[in-house]
């Protein structure tokens, strides 16, 4: 269970999150929507522990453990996965090697042993196939020379292999054509289970046609201002933020 209480976050001295409260139980899928600059990405970075995101107030706990005390890799070990809006390129490091290092680090963090090479290979190939990724892509350096769609697909393959208990997906659907969007939503739906929870940050309602959330939150000016079920998203699509009484720059 993820519990965020009264979270205030500053970036470069400027307060972006101004008291976010959010509780997610296992197996739940939540969507956060909101206008530009509402603080959606900041929330995802703060949960995962990126440098430069200063927590000035509030708590974030996951399964009872204080996440804010942990390094990003420890949080990953606890089961957190961040789907990046702009996945990073790492020249010279093959996808395969990267994934194996990541998976084994997480296993070791949880007190387990490295996955045998053969088993790992099988796992990755299977996941790549499920998500329709060419096996050749696995040998290529992480995200280097990938198109926007390929990068997002790669994020989904990584997520499938690492099998996180909490996935935070930061605008994973942005800039995708309809085919790529289906791949991404397919990836998310495959992860969905009574054990795993998913937090989707998105700009558009269309992803929610493919991945139906249990809760929809609307964020504006660093706070969650409205919470509802999936009909809230449809409402928003029809009426717009202004129609719901939310101004783009609530400040």
């Amino acid at each position: 269970m993820l519990e965020i209480k009264n979270l205030h976050v500053s970036v470069g001295g400027k307060e972006i999150l101004k008291g976010v409260n959010l509780t997610m139980k296992s197996g739940e899928v939540h969507a956060i929507m909101g206008p530009n600059g509402a603080g959606k990405s900041t929330l995802s970075y703060a949960i995962c522990g990126k440098d430069g995101y200063e927590i000035t107030e509030g708590t974030v706990t996951y399964n009872g453990k204080d996440l804010l005390d942990m390094e990003p890799d420890q949080r990953a070990g606890e089961g957190l996965f961040l789907g990046f809006q702009y996945p990073v390129e790492i020249p010279g490091v093959s996808n395969m090697n990267f994934l194996r290092s990541a998976l084994n680090s997480q296993r070791r963090y949880r007190g387990g042993k490295d996955m045998p090479a053969v088993e790992f290979l099988k796992l990755v190939r299977a996941k790549a196939k499920e998500l329709d990724m060419d096996a050749e892509m696995l040998k290529r350096p992480v995200n280097v020379g990938f198109s926007g769609g390929e990068k997002k697909r790669n994020e989904m393959v990584q997520m499938a292999v690492l099998n996180p208990s909490l996935a935070v997906l930061d605008e994973t659907d942005s800039g995708l054509d309809i085919d790529a969007l289906k791949v991404v939503s397919d990836g998310i739906n495959r992860l969905r289970s009574p054990e795993n929870s998913i937090l989707m940050i998105t700009h558009y309602q269309r992803l929610l046609d493919y991945v139906v959330p249990d809760f929809v939150h609307i964020m504006a000016d660093g706070k969650i201002v409205r919470t509802g079920d999936k009909t809230l998203a449809i409402d928003l699509e029809e009426k717009g933020y202004v129609g719901l009484g939310i101004t783009e720059n609530a400040a």
């Binding site: 995962c48 522990g49 990126k50 440098d51 430069g52 390094e71 990003p72 890799d73 949080r75 990953a76 070990g77 957190l80 996965f81 961040l82 990046f84 996945p87 990073v88 390129e89 790492i90 020249p91 010279g92 490091v93 090697n97 990267f98 290092s101 990541a102 998976l103 680090s105 997480q106 963090y109 350096p141 990584q158 690492l162």
Partner: protein
């Protein structure tokens, strides 16, 4: 030149008197500290060298005395007292020379095992023939018999002086002249051992040849000399690994390596240099002042240098290629990592002389801690080198804000048909890359090692398999404590 002549005369006058007497007087396994003609005679006598070689050494010594230590490299170290160094040290059991592995002092073998290069293991598992230089004397040479069947000569340089004097006379100093630089002159005077390889016409050497250098004795300079000749149409891959135990003092290592390829021949020379770099406060460590040069004398011949430099307090090293034969090819692939107080000034020279010659330079420098890494390179195309091609890529990566990374390339082109390209970049590991790896669960040091390995990939993939794994681990070890 007058001084040289005088010295030469002195040498000739004196040599008669001391020819035998000196050796019997000194029964120790070390030559006395310091450098003078007597020490050179002692070394030569110990090695039972022919007269011509002693004369050659003394001439080199006379030359060395007239030379000055180079100061142009971006390295900074206290002046070396060349009289405070032992120029010869032999392990006790080496007096008679081991005939096979069984003859080797088990203590020595255990030391090697610690280094992870168990001879037996290598013999059995990897099929690598190893010529080990322990301090100054070659203690074991394996697989020699098998190589001999193919007509390949793989022996210590002292043996070569006895057994193949004509070849030695022909090639010794033919690529790196005695007076090429201060340290090559010093090496020519006092070299104690090293490796001699000859691959006959049309022979593709059936295994990777390997030498493991190690400096053991305190205050011992290691001055090995390596000569590799690849005759027409032959091929050899040679691996050189270097390591040294921890000592507080700085030890000097001044080797000379000479490679020659004839028509259609190829030499691939790989080095993993892991000499003791000194401790984290910059105390101790090896001074690695090495001259390595290959001459592509034949047409269609090729020399390829690959180096992974992680050790030594100071590295001063420019493995180079003289591309003389038409269509000859020179390559230089380098990874140089410096951490703590290490300083490395390394690179290459590609001299295009023949027609249609081409060269590739890929250099990856990584600096961490308070270290300084410099790439220094020369690409020169002479007027007769029609259609010469060069591509150079120099990338530097900085880890931490107290280190330095420098790129000093020289490009000198005297033929219009040349196509020469040089690119260089300097950057740090981006925060985004690091966070991406951490988010996926990697620890900081693993993430850095992973990113650095990726950064070096273009070079690492040129290493033979056995070395690649070791080198990859070394990258991680070398950078320990550099982040965080």
């Amino acid at each position: 030149m007058v001084a040289t002549k005088e010295a030469q005369q002195t040498v000739e006058e004196v040599s008669g008197e001391y020819k035998y007497g000196f050796v019997t007087e000194i029964e120790t396994e070390k030559a006395p500290k310091g450098l003078n003609e007597d020490v050179i005679r002692f070394i030569s006598a110990k090695k039972k060298e022919p007269e011509w070689l002693l004369a050659w050494r003394l001439k080199a010594y006379a030359k060395w005395l007239t030379m000055e230590e180079p100061t142009w490299a971006m390295v900074d170290y206290p002046k070396i007292d060349f009289q405070d160094i032992y120029y010869y040290a032999a392990p006790k059991s080496a007096e008679d020379g081991p005939k096979s592995l069984e003859d080797v002092d088990p203590e020595l073998l255990r030391t090697y095992e610690k280094l992870g290069i168990s001879l037996k293991e290598q013999e059995v598992l990897s099929g690598v023939a190893v010529d080990i230089v322990f301090d100054s004397v070659s203690v074991a040479t394996t697989f020699r018999k098998k190589l001999k069947e193919a007509g390949i000569i793989f022996c210590s340089i002292s043996e070569a002086a006895h057994d193949y004097p004509e070849m030695m006379k022909k090639y010794l100093g033919s690529v790196v002249p005695v007076a090429d630089n201060y340290y090559s002159a010093l090496n020519s005077a006092v070299f104690t051992d090293g490796t001699f390889v000859y691959i006959p016409k049309g022979v593709r050497c059936p295994m990777e040849l390997s030498t493991y250098f190690r400096i053991n004795e305190a205050n011992t300079g290691q001055f090995e000399r390596t000569i590799i000749i690849a005759d027409e149409g032959s091929y050899v891959s040679y691996l050189e690994g270097c390591t040294a135990p921890q000592r507080d003092e700085n030890q000097l290592h001044a080797a000379v390596v000479e490679l020659v390829t004839h028509d259609d021949a190829e030499i691939k020379y790989s080095t993993v240099q892991n000499w003791y770099p000194g401790d984290k406060d910059g105390k101790g460590g090896i001074y690695n002042f090495v001259t390595k040069r290959g001459a592509c004398r034949g047409k269609n011949s090729k020399i390829s240098w690959t180096q992974v430099e992680t050790g030594s307090a100071i590295t001063w090293k420019y493995p180079s290629c003289l591309l003389i034969g038409d269509n000859s090819v020179g390559e230089f692939y380098s990874v140089a990592i410096t951490n703590n107080y290490q300083q490395a000034d390394t690179g290459t020279k590609m001299i295009h002389i023949g027609k249609n010659t081409s060269s590739t330079i890929i250099s990856k420098g990584i600096s961490a801690g308070k270290s300084q890494a410099t790439y220094r390179g020369l690409v020169k195309v002479l007027p007769g080198a029609e259609n010469a091609r060069n591509f150079t890529q120099c990338d530097s990566l900085l880890i931490g804000d107290l280190c330095g990374a420098h790129t000093v390339p020289y490009i000198e082109i005297k033929n219009p048909t040349a196509q020469v390209e040089h690119e260089a970049t300097t950057s740090k590991i981006s925060d985004e890359q690091l966070f991406y790896c951490l988010q996926r669960g990697l620890e900081v040091e693993d993430a850095v090692a992973l990113i650095v390995n990726g950064f070096c990939k273009d070079v690492m993939q040129n290493l033979p398999m056995e070395f690649a794994v070791e080198a990859q681990k070394l990258l991680g070890i070398s950078l320990e404590g550099s982040v965080g």
